[in-house]
Each structure stands twice: as structure tokens, then as C-alpha cells.
Symmetry: C2
Subunit: 429 residues, 2 copies
């Protein structure tokens, strides 16, 4: 028997994985990380916040104070639910989005990603339906797939998910005899579309979900990062029993601590704590204490104002560059957050052309990453959060070059196809 | 309709949880946390390391250096697998246990608990069998239950799991037509028993698992905390393809950072990274950089020596107190780690008597927490890691008082039962 010395050995455990593991695949964004971190590449791909705009000296002081005043406690195991102190501060932050809540109903998690993972573990049996926006956050789709959920995209426009489309989707799912569990929404400055769910639609969606006993998961990492006017009040401010609200310090402070949270109805909160204790024992006491201290001593609201200014400037830079270099391409007009959603000609393939874009030193996330149903080849997510305005303009300039080249290529292929079809026709008749 | 104003409202989502969620229950240890943190209670319950013995000034300097030299990187998202730097340092630590490995095969996780959770998610379909020691770590049993594994305890003595008993258990499971997935072992200074798997048995267990294509999970948080002589080389040093090795900084450094790892065969490692990215995106860059810096600048091996001395002294204190106050009670003789396993009279119930012990201001973990099959009422886990020697002696003195009282009570109940049985007999005949 000979073995190819180049190919890696086959995994001897390949036949032993759980059925659910077949749903696990490399995220299209994560797979890019190695490439796009090269300095010559302008990355419009990852949603990395502009952490260098944080007050590094203030944070260094915070770390010193935490070690001096509560060192042993910060180094030790803590509560599975999270410290009372940070949960109380989280309730203050939630109030900025119109939410009344109790620290007792908050569960601190390893980023809000973990909260969504635990909720999905708690609720989803194979095939249970999760309704999501069209497009929807790729990290959420990955979680839902990993528990074998049935993902149903619901039509979404520039005002967010369309209530009538949700009604229609629910009717289809009921007719098919399937079990419905979640309505998952990123209502503010959506990832990837950048659109915000209109205020009038919020109560409508809440009412529809309530009527059909579907739990809403409101995922809101970007809500405080608005540019021109605040986002409408959170869905959670309309209804308490039917909504789990997910929040995060990753965008308003720093993702390096991995601290997010769920604000959940009591029964769900109790199970969330048990599920989190099973999965990780407890969230990091050090990370929680650092964030609590930062919130107590730093002027964190003015820091968020500062972030808003930075991201607004970058949003303006990317829309300006799109106007300049890709004036005929439709795109969204985000009023907050990190992302613009760009439409490209329907005969292009955003995923297939990505390596060519990276070769031209610009990276983006292909639209296909945000759909569970194969759509998105004619869409691109552009993240404007990390590069500075000059880099953004240069990135869009390069992207425009790639797109124009792709259009020429596609047109020439189409032309050849038409010619060959014509030849076939000539021969046939 | 009237509602009882005292009882909490029923969970409106109670009928919507996934089937697997029925396996989720409050850990007997975690439920005690609130009570045992009261200062008047001597807690022999939780496995909390003696973090106040850490060099707090050195750690404070480490935090400063990390912020000064790599602040923005530490505040940002990082690699899903963990930083290369910490993975290389982890390989150095693994070498202390006789393990040859590559940083490429290490996955950094939110404590080693998360690594076990992800492995279980990757491999376990409902009913798949996991072989565990008897008794076994309660946190592992909780994870296995939460994915609906079938847990099979294998007979264990003072030299760890008995190879012939594993052979026998495998035969039974094969005869029943069930699918076998894991052999889960805490080979060194076992939690809860304190016993260490004898060197000669290690190769035997590895061979048995290999013969039946069962993946070994070697969970080794305590291995470096030996007292009189080092633990035998890790099972992972015998076989690379068939073992996932789990390690942690929680016991040799500090649990407050929540950093552990898995060293896995390549195919499993690839899936572990994807599963971790799905669950939490990435581990904390801040926590990883702090630990990397600490390992680079502090004399961490002599700190581990220091910990060994502290825990050895506490082990001596608890064995001495047990000799003094409970001389007729059998118990293990741990040569490392955090735990002693105490046998109590078989007519007592360690779980039922716990509230009475707490009322006497001493806490422990009932043996039932370490079995999936209902055993353990006549066992108690005593953790000697956290209280100082004087507190340990006082805790054991109180426990002895509770036990003597329980024995009297049980004997008197037995006596009454015998009398009433006698009366019945008198009447019957």
C-alpha cells in the first residue's frame, strides 16, 4: 500500500462524530482571518471594533485597581450567573434602550455568542424552525445549524423584517406540520444588512410571535452605536415574557474580554444558568470585575459617543467611496453599526470572486455567508468599522476594479454562451 | 381565577424546551455556593484553589505589561484556536507530564470544561455510551447528561479504574448493541476520589480502548499538584491518535481567567476549533495574553512548588483530623490534588444530611453528585484545597459531630423499625 506523502492522513474518528456535527462547517469569515490580517490587504471583511480608540491608560488603571482592591476574588471561580455588580450595571445599560429589567434575570456569558449557543441548546430539537431575517447574522446561522435547526429566512426590506412575510412564513411552516421555536432578529443596524427594524413593525412582530407562541431572540450588539438618531426602543421594552434580549460589551467596549449577556424571562434564565454552568462552570471573574470597574470609573457614555463619531466618519467614507467608484450599485444606508450591504450584478458570484479580490488586496464577506438557503451570490457585506477613512476609500477603489473586471469577464462568458447557443440553434434548425 | 401570591408564575415556555434539556439539573455543588460562602461555615465542599497564595504584585505587573506592550491586540477578537504563543507555552507544560505534542494540535478553551462540552457536542448522539470512573467528576457527568449520553460507571479501586472491569463493561454494552464513544478518565488525584491511576494500568486501559475504537478523554487539571512523588506519565504519552488530553490553568495558576485547553488528534482538533468558533467565536485574547506574559516573566514552576507545599500541608491536616475525629471511617490517601473521599456508614444518606451539616457550619459534597446511577449516599467528598489547616481541623470536628449524631438517629430509627416489625410479627403469629 502506498500513501501520498503530501495529503494528510484521514481522520480515524471520521465515522464517529454525532449526526449534528455534519452541520459544522468553516465560517466563510473566519477562514479569511489569516489572509486579511496581512498589512497590504484592506479588510472590509471582519467586524472588528476600533479598539485603538479606547482610553488605554484608563483601562491600565482599571486593571491595577481590580488587582489592588479585589485581586483574589478576581482570580477565583465565581457565580455561574455572573457577578451581581456587573448584572446591575448591565440593567443600567439596558435602560438606555428603553428596557426595564432586573439584575436577577441577567445571565453573563462568554460574549453574547455563548448566550445564543446555550439558548439554542436549550430549545432546539432536530428540525425545529427558527425564523431569521433575510440576510441574517452568519454566527447565528452557524449555531442554529450546529443544533440541526430548520432555518427559515423571512423577507426583509430597508425597514427590516416584513410582518406580512413573517405571517406567510409561519403559515407555510404550520401547514408543513413543523415545530416553531425562535424568531431571531438583529433589529438595529443589522449584521450584515445595516438596516434597522422600523418602530411600527416592532410591535407587529412581537404580536405575531406571541400569537403563535414563538420565542423572540433580540440580538442587539450595535444598538448604542447609532449615527444620526437613536434606534427605536428595544423589542424587549414591548414584551417581557416572550423575548430573550442579548447584549454585549464587545462593540461598546472591547471584545477581548468576551463578556456578553442575556436578559431572559425567569424560567428561561434559570435554565440558562444551569446550561452555562454545565458548559463553562462560570464566566471569567477577572473580565467581569475589569468591566465593572471600567463602568464605575471611566466616562463610558462619552467613550460610546466617541465611538459613534469614529464609525459615523467611516460610514460616510464608505458611502462616499461607493458613490465615487460604484455609483450604479445599490446598497443600504446604515444609520449605525458596522456594515453596508452591497448588491452586485446578478451574473457575478461574490464567493467565487473573493480570492481574486484578496489578490488585489481587498477583502469582504460574500453574501452567501448570511443565508442558509444558497442565496447571496449577488451580495457583499462591507464592514467599515476597522480601517480608517483613507483605507476604506482605497479598499472600495480596489473592490470596484475587481468588480469591473468581473463584469467584463461575465459579459464575455455570456456572450460566448450566447454565441455557442446560437451555433447549436443554427445546427439544430 | 385566583393565583397563589407566594408561588412564582409557571414558566410559559416549559413545554418548549428541547428533549435534551430534561437532562439538565442543578449541580449539587453549585447549589451550595451561596450558603457555603458565609464566613461562619467551614467549606470542605468546593474545589476552589488557594489563589491568595499567588504573587499578586507579579500578576499586577503582568497586567500592566500586557496593556503597555500589546493593549489593542488584547482588547480585540483573536483566533478561534487560541494564540500561537500560549499554545506553544502549553506544549512546554504538557512536556512536564511526559507528553510530546505540537502547538498546532492545541485548542484554547474557556476552561477545560468548555473543551469537554465541545467534545461531547461533537461526538455524542442520544444514548451513546461514555465509560467513566466510579465515582467520576460531577461536571463531566453534567455535560454527558446534557447531550443525553448513556453513562456507564466502571469499577475503580485505590489504583484507579480496573482494566478487567472496563473489559467487562464493554462486553455488556456490546451485547446490548449500544454505540460506545468515550472513555473519560481523571487519572491523577481524581475528583472526587483523590486516587491515581497506577502506571501499569495506563497502558492496559489505552490498549483496551484502542481495541474497541473508543476515544479516551484524559482530563488532567491536577497532575502537576503532586505531594510526595510525581504522577505517572500521562496516558497521552502512550498514544497520540486515540486520546484527547484536557489541561487547565485553573489549578496551577488561577481559575478567574477561564483558560484551559485540549490537545487533540488533528482531525478532532479541526472540528474542535469550528465548534468553539460557533459557540463563543474565540477565547479571551486578554486572558491568554496575561497568562502568556505570566509564564514568560514569573517563576511559575516555583509557584507550582509553592502550591504543592500548601496543598500537602492541607492534605496532612485533613488526614490528621480524620484520624483524630473519625478514626473508624475509611477514606482515601491522596498523593496530590484537592480531595479526600470518605466512606460513611451505609445506613446514612450523605445528601439528606447535608442541610444538617450546614446548620452546624460545615459543608461538603455528597457522594451522590459523582454517580449517574444513584450510588454515593454512603460517600462524602472533602475538599482540602481552600481552608487553612486550622479551619480544616475545625471543619472535620464539626462533621464528626454531625456524623455521630446521624448514626445515633439512624440506629434509633432502625431500632424502632425492628420493634415495630417485631410487633407486627407478634400480631401476625
Amino acid at each position: 500500500m502506498t500513501t501520498d506523502p503530501v495529503s494528510p492522513p484521514r481522520d480515524p474518528w471520521r465515522d464517529d462524530y454525532a449526526v449534528r456535527t455534519s452541520g459544522l462547517s468553516a465560517s466563510e469569515v473566519r477562514a479569511l482571518f489569516a489572509v486579511v490580517s496581512r498589512p497590504e490587504v484592506v479588510s472590509l471583511a471582519g467586524g472588528m471594533p476600533a479598539v485603538s480608540a479606547l482610553p488605554l491608560d484608563t483601562i491600565a488603571e482599571t486593571l491595577q485597581r481590580v488587582m489592588r482592591e479585589r485581586g483574589p476574588e478576581s482570580l477565583q471561580y465565581g457565580s455561574g450567573q455572573g457577578s451581581l455588580e456587573i448584572r446591575e450595571r448591565i440593567i443600567d445599560i439596558c435602560a438606555l434602550e428603553g428596557i426595564n429589567g432586573s439584575a436577577d434575570n441577567v445571565v453573563v456569558t462568554t460574549g453574547s455568542q455563548q448566550a445564543l449557543d446555550l439558548l439554542t441548546k436549550l430549545f432546539i430539537d432536530e428540525g425545529d424552525v427558527v425564523f431569521v431575517e433575510s440576510p441574517s447574522y452568519l454566527g447565528a446561522l452557524g449555531i442554529f445549524r450546529s443544533y440541526q435547526a430548520g432555518i427559515e429566512h423571512v423577507e426583509t426590506d430597508d425597514d427590516g423584517m416584513i410582518p406580512e412575510a413573517l405571517d406567510e412564513a409561519i403559515r407555510r411552516v404550520i401547514a408543513a406540520g413543523r415545530t416553531m421555536k425562535f424568531l431571531y432578529l438583529v433589529p438595529n443596524f443589522n449584521n450584515p444588512s445595516g438596516v434597522t427594524l422600523a418602530e411600527g413593525r416592532r410591535a407587529q412582530l412581537v404580536a405575531i410571535a406571541k400569537r403563535h407562541h414563538i420565542l423572540i431572540i433580540e440580538d442587539n450588539p450595535y444598538g448604542l452605536l447609532w449615527f444620526d438618531r437613536p434606534a427605536p426602543p428595544a423589542l424587549r421594552s414591548i414584551d417581557e415574557d416572550g423575548i430573550v434580549y442579548l447584549g454585549s460589551f464587545s462593540k461598546t467596549f472591547a471584545p477581548g474580554f468576551r463578556v456578553g449577556w442575556a436578559l431572559a424571562p425567569r424560567g428561561i434564565r434559570e435554565k440558562l444558568v444551569l446550561a452555562s454552568e454545565s458548559a463553562i462552570l462560570c464566566p471569567s471573574a477577572m473580565s467581569q470585575n475589569i468591566i465593572s470597574d471600567y463602568l464605575a470609573h471611566a466616562n463610558w457614555t462619552s467613550q460610546i459617543d466617541h465611538f459613534r463619531g469614529i464609525y459615523r466618519e467611516r460610514r460616510d467614507a464608505i458611502l462616499g467611496a461607493l458613490d465615487e467608484f460604484l455609483p450604479s450599485y445599490a446598497r443600504t444606508e446604515p444609520n449605525g453599526g458596522f456594515y453596508v450591504w452591497l448588491s452586485i450584478p446578478s451574473n457575478l458570484d461574490s464567493r467565487a470572486m473573493l480570492p481574486r479580490a484578496v489578490a488585489e488586496h481587498v477583502a469582504y464577506t460574500p453574501g452567501t455567508a448570511f443565508y442558509a438557503n444558497g442565496l447571496g451570490r449577488d451580495r457583499i457585506r462591507l464592514a467599515f468599522c476597522y480601517p480608517n477613512p483613507a483605507e476604506i476609500r482605497e479598499g472600495v477603489r480596489r473592490l470596484a476594479g475587481v468588480l469591473h473586471h468581473e463584469v467584463e469577464r461575465a459579459d464575455s462568458v455570456t456572450h460566448q454562451l450566447e454565441s455557442s447557443t446560437k451555433n447549436v440553434s443554427d445546427r439544430a434548425f
